[in-house]
Symmetry: C2
DNA sequence: GTGAAAGCGCTAACAA
DNA sequence: TTGTTAGCGCTTTCAC
């Protein structure tokens, strides 16, 4: 920068003005000279120095559970797009639902002075989140809330959509309905399970098929269930569960939906193309990612006024003829 | 840091030593005092300042075409994992195969002083890449090469795998074989097409079904082709093409593989579960992402010695009974 | 073993 | 309109 200044015959501060577009008090003459000098020297401003001085990095951190989940992939894309539009960048981290890893990432992101953090939170770092809030650190939760914390969060109408899924199956005559989710503890899964069970109980049905299982246990749990006390309908809690269940069901030659009706949370691109097509509960992941980013950026800019504490999106039950009484013209 | 130093009764530089683990010449006494002071004050080092001083940010840039492509998703995860292991971070950018956007991203990343860039390159920023190389800027290409540039690149055996796919179909008796790829211009697609055509010609077959089409034209192109001069086999060039073709084929009631045998590049999670299962060409995306990151980090650390210019991975043809003469026991 | 001092590249009062 | 100056928070010789 000094070099540019000398070459243009002005001072560093004038160059700085130029770079920051403060041309108001600058003669066209100087402007041109600086311009020329910059090009001649191939000068490139150093954003790190700028960040140090200004105490903002134009970077946010995004912590997802695992980018390989379709939901997270969509979120990442939406967040990145939104950041790009506003000249921000996103550092993406996979915490794998591991509180330790999440904590480490948050520490690293803070050390890097990111302007804010967007996170699909685990539920075991409440103290850490609390400290962030106390420090006035911009923070937004996505997909999940954390009990007792007032952090702006963007979530889904989990209870209602789970209830709708259950009702859909009940209306079709199912009475033994299973919901398989990954281990509980995170709000979205808890809510889904609660809504689902509520609906079952409202109809006097048993909730004994509602289970939470680690991914690697899905197959054996399914196996056990189908051997001993088979449900007639299954709702998988996310795309990973589906990807475990489906190969198993196929192997065993269990026909869908005749033997087992199937509904899955999360968009799976090929789901509608399968035979039979799988009914899915689609989440507006990209809209959620975008909105969450907008809220975070607002927080960063101190526009405290228009920051909603809760933003709830609606999931959609995409019925695709996958439940047993829907074949033919019974509908 | 000053505060910590005062509280511990030492100087800033001693604190710095402490933070960087240079305990060799430090009394256990001072060490403990600094430790206590840090905790008491809740001091957190500022990585931006450190970066400014040291001229490295422990951050790399990753530019993919579109993270929504399965290949890119896998790459992102692998890159992030590898970075995390080495205390690096990745800023992820979607250039959408748009040279302008790519250029803008590269500029921004450089301004942010990222230590290196990993990119799935478009083919129209050769001058920019050249400048980076001249400046000794660590750069690695993934999935594609750029003509005339000697940049370490991690690619696939595109020619061979395309040839294998063609041969597989030919062996099954197909003579009218189509390859549909997105527009050419990027090395991987070019190579695939070249290998494919080569194989067709070697067997005296026509290459008139080998086409490059924009994604939004796929359906109509397929429609046209199937109406006028239908091939008996189709190879889709990536997951996006497949996702265009499949709904169309399903709509039209074209039976796979009886009427049209189908092979697709790129892993699609549900492909093996479809009925009939789709034969795919699987790329070791995560291994490629990991290797590319390792090469980039080596470059960053100046270990010029062990940087291979070309790293070629093998794709695998996963045959899944999707081609017509394979039903029953003809195989 | 520890401290003083210079400086990384930039911005932002305030002066001129 | 432009220049001077004082840092931002850290590392790193080199003295002591």
């Amino acid at each position: 920068m000094q070099d540019v200044a000398e070459k243009a015959g002005v001072s560093k501060s004038t160059v700085s003005q130029y770079l920051n577009g403060r041309f108001e008090y600058m003669s066209a003459e100087t402007k041109k000279r600086i311009q020329t000098a910059i090009e001649a020297l191939g000068y490139r401003p150093n954003q790190v120095a700028k960040s140090l001085k200004q105490k903002r990095t134009s970077t946010i951190g995004l912590i997802v559970a695992n980018i390989l989940h379709r939901f997270s992939t969509l979120v990442c894309r939406a967040v990145e797009d939104t950041c790009h539009e506003q000249d921000y960048h996103a550092i993406i981290c996979n915490a794998d639902d591991n509180p330790e890893k999440e904590r480490k990432y948050i520490d690293m992101l803070r050390a890097k002075q990111v302007d804010g953090i967007l996170v699909i939170p685990t539920q075991d770092n409440t103290d850490l989140y609390e400290k962030l809030i106390q420090n006035g650190y911009p923070l937004v939760f996505l997909d999940r809330k954390v009990a007792g914390l007032s952090v702006p969060s963007v979530t889904l109408n989990n209870r209602e959509i789970a209830r709708m899924a259950a009702q859909h199956l009940i209306q079709q005559g199912h009475e033994k309905i299973s919901l398989m989710t990954p281990p509980l503890g995170v709000s979205s899964r808890n809510e889904r399970q609660a809504g689902f069970c509520q609906s079952l109980r409202d109809h006097g049905l048993s909730t004994r098929y509602v289970v939470s299982v680690e991914l690697d246990q899905i197959r054996q749990r399914l196996d056990h269930m189908l051997q001993t006390d088979p449900p007639t309908a299954l709702v998988t809690g996310n795309d990973r569960v589906l990807m475990e269940a489906l190969p198993y069901l196929k192997e065993k030659g269990i026909s869908i939906p005749e033997t087992l009706a199937l509904i899955s949370f999360d968009e799976m691109e090929l789901a509608p193309l399968m035979d039979p097509p799988i009914t899915t509960i689609e989440q507006p992941a990209m809209e959620m990612g975008r909105r969450a980013t907008e809220i975070l950026l607002r927080q960063i800019r101190g526009q405290q006024a228009d920051i909603p504490l809760q933003t709830v999106f609606d999931a959609t039950l995409c019925i695709r003829q996958s439940s047993r009484f829907k074949r033919g013209n019974l509908l």
